[in-house]
């Protein structure tokens, strides 16, 4: 059997026509469809037989710069996949049809395709594929390497996907990429896990950025953070120590659809891009959609408003993706950080009530210490307090939800500035903003580390003892 595939780039989408040809029986099966093109590394095998009646189109999509292929299994068929690390399987799940999938032409049958990284595979006609790929190469942007990636610029989503891939490939000993779920517009959500392999038991630090689309400095910070950790974990003792017992999970852009919308259409868009009221109204405020006193205060049931809480708690696929992931690991998550702008604030739970969580005092202390560390860098003032106290009442926020499911250190960071440029923070300020925020985050992580692995106190005792004994011996010489 020979499988031909033809691929064309149509804007942000790639369309693929698949022809499964059985030359002996002189039969041809054809199918086609389009997906948004993103890249991920996968070699996948299909678990369905060719004669399956349930149709599922598998699209191969080669990214121009790397040998990657994308499987848009989730949006078009009742099979959803969980992690994309190596061999990918289509697994049965319950009802995961997006509206995009529903619009797709009915399919003729099932196929299975092996990724291009797996040579031989099902014996598909490589020469034909290669010809098409050359055409593809001409259309899209030139190669960009990690060495020339600028952390002082804002990057569109396409580049951030690519960056994640490159990071994963360069730091393969500590970085893995995890699939969280699909956005409303069928884009994959990935987070990066940074973990030093060891026998030590690990606790988890979670950081997400870009839950509000227009807050561009936040995804910029997530990328900066990853870069700093990876460039320094070998030489920097502070970071090395953290990685001994902590794993970092970083989601650079949570509201991917919204973020892309701010690049293509409306720079000041905030919400997601889900469709409501028969396509007359768009977007849920994802930070009002979590299951924490959902829509009780500081949020709206009206889709027209910018604090629209959605049709129900965790109604949005983006919220669901993050919630499920965090829920599955909550026993081990000690710190939940969510990055926003603007306002220069470090916010504690809660927003939905002025009541304080049990560890409020500790959160204030750690927060204030972080704000001090931040100020020491470039003199910038960040204020610390609970959201209801120093900002305004809100419900359904990810930070409040994280605290309520038991994650002790849960903070929202509102990065620069104070309203001068607001959301449209100049690129010239990215570096300083990220450097100072880095100090704040590291300060929090140090405190978290101290709390759970208080090795430092033992070291302090030892060194104090040494000093004392030296002093004693010195005095005795007098």
């Amino acid at each position: 059997m020979t499988l031909h595939y033809f691929m064309d780039l149509v804007g942000p989408r790639a369309c693929v026509k698949l022809v499964l040809e059985d030359k002996k029986k002189k039969k041809k099966k054809k199918s086609n469809g389009c997906v948004f093109h993103y890249f991920l590394k996968s070699a996948f095998e299909d678990m369905m037989g060719v004669n399956e009646t349930i149709a599922c189109i598998l699209f191969l999509l080669r990214h121009t710069l790397t040998e990657l292929s994308y499987l848009d299994c989730g949006s078009l068929c009742p099979y959803a996949f969980s992690e994309i690390l190596g061999p990918l399987t289509c697994r049965r799940s319950t009802g995961f049809f997006s509206s995009l999938g529903r619009k797709m032409k009915p399919l003729l049958g099932t196929f299975y395709i092996l990724g291009m990284l797996v040579p031989g595979g099902l014996g598909y006609d490589r020469s034909l594929a290669q010809h098409r790929q050359e055409v593809v190469d001409e259309i899209v942007s030139p190669w960009r390497s990690l060495e020339t990636y600028s952390y002082n610029r804002y990057h569109p989503m396409e580049e951030i996907y690519q960056w994640m891939s490159q990071i994963r490939e360069k730091y393969t000993e500590v970085v893995t990429q995890h699939f969280l779920g699909m956005t409303y517009e069928s884009r994959p959500m990935y987070c990066l896990k940074i973990s030093q392999p060891s026998n030590n038991p690990k606790k988890i630090i979670w950081m997400d950025c870009g839950i509000h689309a227009r807050e561009w400095i936040a995804p910029a910070f997530c990328q900066w953070f990853v870069k700093e950790i990876l460039q320094n974990y070998k030489d920097n003792s502070r970071i090395r120590r953290l990685l001994k017992n902590l794993d970092f999970y970083v989601l650079p852009v949570l509201n991917i659809d919204g973020y892309i919308y701010t690049w293509t259409t409306d720079r000041l868009w905030r919400k997601s891009r889900s469709s409501h009221n028969n396509g007359t109204c768009f977007g849920t405020d994802l930070n009002r959609n979590f299951n924490a006193s959902w829509c009780s205060i500081g949020a709206s049931h009206n889709c027209q408003e910018l604090t629209f809480c959605g049709t129900g708690p965790v109604s949005e696929p983006e919220t669901k993706a993050v919630s499920s992931f965090i829920e599955s690991k909550k026993e081990n998550i000690v710190c939940f950080l969510t990055m926003h702008s603007y306002g220069q604030l470090i916010l504690l739970p809660y927003g939905y009530t002025t009541n304080k969580p049990s560890n409020h005092e500790e959160l204030i202390q750690v927060g204030q210490k972080a704000a001090n560390a931040l100020k020491a860098k470039h003199g910038t003032n960040y204020r610390v307090g609970s959201s209801a106290d120093i900002l305004y009442a809100t419900s359904g926020s990810s930070r409040d939800w994280a605290r309520d499911i038991g994650i002790p250190f849960s903070y929202t960071f509102e990065l620069r500035d104070n309203g001068t440029y607001g959301f449209v923070l100049p690129e010239a300020q990215i570096q300083a903003t990220c450097e100072e925020a880095m100090e704040a985050v590291l300060s929090v992580l140090d405190d978290v580390y101290e709390k759970y692995w208080h090795s430092n106190s033992a070291e302090k005792a030892t060194s104090t003892a040494v000093v004392l004994s030296l002093l004693m011996s010195f005095i005795s010489l007098l």
Partner: protein, 291 residues
Amino acid sequence: MQPLRQPLPASRRGNPLPAAPLLALLLLLALQEAAGAPAGSGGPEDSGWHQDTELPRRLLSQAARVALHFFNFRAGSPSALRMLAEVQESRAWINQKKERKVDLVFTTELYNPEEGNKRLGKCSARVFFRNEKPRPAVNVTCAQLIEKKKRHEKDYQLYKRMKQLQNPVDVVSIPDNHGHIDPSLKPIWDLAFLGSSYVMWEKTTQFLHYYMAQLSRVKQWKTNDDAIDFGYTVLLHEFSTQEIIPCHIHLVWYPGKPLKVKDHCQEPHTPEEASGTEEGSAVAPTELSNF
């Protein structure tokens, strides 16, 4: 709160007011009231006012900002615009009608600082919020940050640069989506910020406060008396609702003269723009304003 019966050093026009503690400010305002101050700026000795200990902290910086919007507008000087540094002292009162009075001492810095000059200037203000109504009454005094002569010079330079710009200015947005403002277009931003300060003051209530998010659609006209006559659309960000409000602003400015502003803002979630223009013109500086 008993006002002290002590003489206060008179503030002479042109001299910077010494950084006055809250007490002195209150006395000053009480004296002003005795001299027939505008209605509504009642001192603490008015019946019905009691101290507001539950004042939300955010209201303090909000009050400081709206006082600054008012100050910037009234100063009418695009090269000497100020932004909030820190609120240092505050006291608040509330009455049965849920109206709020906030007295503040705060520091400010220049929006366009000179090289290496990051001086802070102290301001004292009383802001009176009439429940949910906009246009809070503001009394504000600030210590001088730039010498008067220098400020006039800079304003005139800005004026000349504006005059030299192509007409109409063909610009999509300032700053661009990446936060860049071309240096040649900076005077437009400064002047727009000045005009927007009026509008932001005009719309601020106890519950709503604004920032200038982005500028779009700029158009400049010529006038007979050589003033800058220019119209633009500004996107205001309202913080508690997170809404973006487009406002069309038309201003007329000549260095040293009061700013004239006309504005027309779009109500959120309505298909058409809200009807009714508001016109505001600069009030001549009162005795209390020195800079």
